[in-house]
Amino acid sequence: MSTAGDQLRVVASGEMAPAQVGAALAEVTSSETALRRFLAGLPGVDQVGADQRAAALATRSIKAAAKAWAIDTAISMVDLTTLEGADTPGKVHALCMKAGRPDPEDPSVPPVAAVCVYPDLVGVARSALGSSPVKVASVATAFPSGRASRAVKLADVRDALEAGADEVDMVIDRGAFLAGHYGRVLEEVQAVKAACGPAHLKVILETGELATYDNVRRASWTAMLAGADFIKTSTGKVAPASTLPVGLVMLEAVRDFAAATGRLVGVKFAGGIRSTKDAIRYLVLANEVAGEAWLEPELLRLGASSLLNDLLMQRRKQRTGAYAGSQDFSVE
């Protein structure tokens, strides 16, 4: 008897021809029952082992040229974010200026990947960024809780897109997920993906609310099966936000999904990433778990606000040998 779980093992083992893979995945997403079986058939994640692996990778020592490369790469992966009730056009404008040219004194500093704002401020960001390569990302779907009707969520997405968003960061319905309604989660991501059209869709799992690594793995696969371009750890509004072991589990998921389908899904780590050391640890993790293909902004993002200045300070330290001061870079 061939169950969805069995199919996954075959899919994940990479032993299937591409056409078969497509058919197998279509079957997996064909019904709530099939999806549930498929997700239940995923190999479990041993928490202790995952924590230890992440901790071991965190001891990698990145020095000299490797560090310089990592800092610039990390800057180019930053989604410079402001998601506060107190956000104003002025704040967003300032952030956009910083995003395009993080260090006005040093044009060799690359721009960040994107600015990330609420939908009503997308227009401000769009016009502030002008022809800059920096993308505009917008959270949507009743961020951060996701507690609204499907219609409201889709309207939220359309608002963001109409205002000029290049990327949409949606949240999954964690309530539905935890209640075991995986099909509902899948459908909702599919619906948002359809609404996005060419815009990139990042799917926020809010791993702090999913609680277990098994759930993180299942949610990752659900999002990828539904067409996510990125899977993203957190809204930044729930503790714990992004952690290295959760990152490890998600990077394994995109790696396995790529092996099975040939499609590379990106990963965005967001929340709690404040220091250069943190950022480099995520780069090491991506490098050694998913592989070096993921070391570019198309497939790896760091959602953060204060991180950028720390990267700039470390960058200057690398160049001048002296530690930078806390007021050396602009605070938005």
């Binding site: 994940a12 190999p43 041993d46 082992g49 001891t59 000299a64 490797a66 560090k67 050694e288 070096e292």
Partner: protein
């Protein structure tokens, strides 16, 4: 070239001040050997001579045993347990304080990655002293009857794979009971034991309580040949262990042996696969496979064998082999030319006997002793690489279909030190653990060590336990 090329990140050698030559540590002082012999110890990663070390002969053994006997009778055994314990706490604390120095020295002399000496060997050594320190005044509660007495003087011979840690495993429980020690470190790795001797001096441990005799096999033989030891504790090869057991036949000397192994690491289809891959890697490539309890036989359920092997090979591609002092090194140097020859010979036998050999592409340094991580697939249980201990980074892969078959294959060895079981099914873990003839069974993990946890083998892996409450019994007259 890789996108993200990690720059060299070597740990500084400056923290270690090597002397050009070292004497023997007898009766609290460093002394010249009676016959004046010496040998060099080298760094296996570079073949550079690190220091000249005294070679103890029979006369030195006699002096050391006499010092240990006197210290045991006059000082150490009469001392209240709480006071003995405080010496051991001091030693534990100084090991913690001088941790980096010990780690660098260990990696220099042994060839193991600094990541391991820093994160495993040295902290565990300190933890062993800390744990047994606490037993010194609680022996009445250890379960071996009321008022157990110390055994006396122990001769202890340790291997080169975890030089400092094995010294701690031997010394800490003996000292806690009120016994005293003559410790003989391995020929290729004497330096961390000598630094430990300095630590004993710094801790003001009474003279003679621990004596350290560097030397070769003949030194160890001279120690075992004495008839005035109360105890011999040996960790090393099964061959030498058997010779020691024969040597002590007919004497009243107590013996514990921690010998070789050929552990099965058993992966079921319902295992947490990502963690199992890590466990396989850690099981056989930790410390270059120079681990008696290494998971050198991978038994993988046929239904997932192909996927596991693919994932394993991919993972091996990310291992970093090279300078042991580089903080990013995963695989260091083989400890000696002699050991390298043995690994090379056994690996060649695997190919000759028809197993399929695979290694990731990795650059091997020009100087020093190195062997790449190696996997043999299509291994038959009859082949030498499935039966003999290789003691190197070489994994033999076999398959099984049912739990019964896994048990049968796992137990089909003359050894019985350890085993690993990977499955998310708890009841199966315990079922397997019941049937595996091995002194340690790791479930969904591998190569974990803790001072509270007894360690030791079944069958030709030896007898006696080190660690935990059980470890005390080896040094108690109860």
């Amino acid at each position: 070239m890789a996108r993200f090329e990690y720059a060299p990140a070597p740990e500084s050698r400056a923290v270690v001040s090597l002397r050009s030559s070292y004497g023997l540590f007898i009766d609290g002082a460093f002394v010249e050997p009676v016959d004046g012999g010496s040998f060099n110890t080298i760094s296996p990663a570079t073949e550079e001579v690190l220091a000249e070390v005294a070679l103890a002969g029979a006369g030195d053994v006699e002096r050391a045993v006499a010092a240990a006997r006197r210290a045991q009778r006059e000082v150490w055994a009469p001392m209240p347990g709480a006071e003995r314990g405080k010496y051991l706490f001091r030693v534990a604390r100084i090991i913690q304080e001088r941790a980096r120095e010990l780690a660098v020295l260990e990696s220099l002399d042994n060839g193991k990655p600094i990541r391991e000496s820093r994160d495993v060997d040295v902290p565990l050594a300190a933890a062993h002293f800390f744990y047994y320190a606490g037993w010194a005044d609680k022996l009445d509660y250890a379960g071996f009857g009321p008022a157990p007495r110390p055994l006396g003087v122990a001769g202890q011979i340790i291997p080169w794979n975890f030089p400092l840690l094995m010294a701690a495993w031997k010394l800490a429980p003996a000292l806690a009971t009120g016994s005293t020690c003559v410790l003989k470190p391995a020929e290729t790795t004497p330096l961390s034991a000598l630094l430990l001797a300095e630590i004993f001096q710094q801790a003001e441990l009474p003279p003679g309580v621990v004596n350290i005799l560097t030397g070769d096999g003949a030194t160890g033989a001279a120690l075992v040949a004495r008839r005035d030891l109360d105890k011999v504790a040996f960790t090393g090869s099964t061959e030498v262990g058997k010779a020691i057991q024969r040597e002590l036949a007919g004497t009243r000397t107590r013996l514990s042996l921690e010998l070789g192994g050929k552990a099965a690491n058993i992966v079921f289809e319902d295992a947490p696969l990502s963690q199992a891959i890590e466990g396989i890697v850690n099981g056989i490539f930790f410390n270059q496979g120079h681990v008696c309890c290494a998971g050198s036989r991978l038994l993988v359920q046929e239904s997932v064998a192909e996927g596991v092997l693919d994932a394993l090979k991919e993972r091996l591609g990310t291992l970093r082999l090279g300078d042991p002092l580089d903080k990013n090194t995963d695989i260091g140097a083989i400890n000696s030319g002699r050991q390298l020859d043995k690994i090379v010979e056994l690996a060649a036998s695997g190919e000759r006997e028809g197993a399929e050999r695979w290694s990731p592409s990795c650059a091997i340094p020009e100087r020093g002793y190195w062997f790449p991580p190696t996997i043999f697939t299509g291994v038959a249980p009859s082949q030498r690489i499935a039966r003999e201990e290789i003691f190197g980074p070489v994994l033999s892969v076999l398959t099984f279909r049912t739990p019964d078959e896994a048990v049968q294959k796992a137990n089909n060895t003359t050894y019985g030190l350890s085993a690993g079981v990977w499955t998310e099914k708890g009841s199966r873990i315990l079922w397997m653990a019941d049937r595996l003839r091995a002194g340690v069974v790791w479930a969904n993990t591998f190569n974990r060590f803790d001072p509270t946890s007894p360690f030791g083998g079944y069958r030709e892996s030896g007898f006696g336990r080190e660690g935990g409450r059980h470890g005390l019994e080896e040094y108690l007259d109860a």
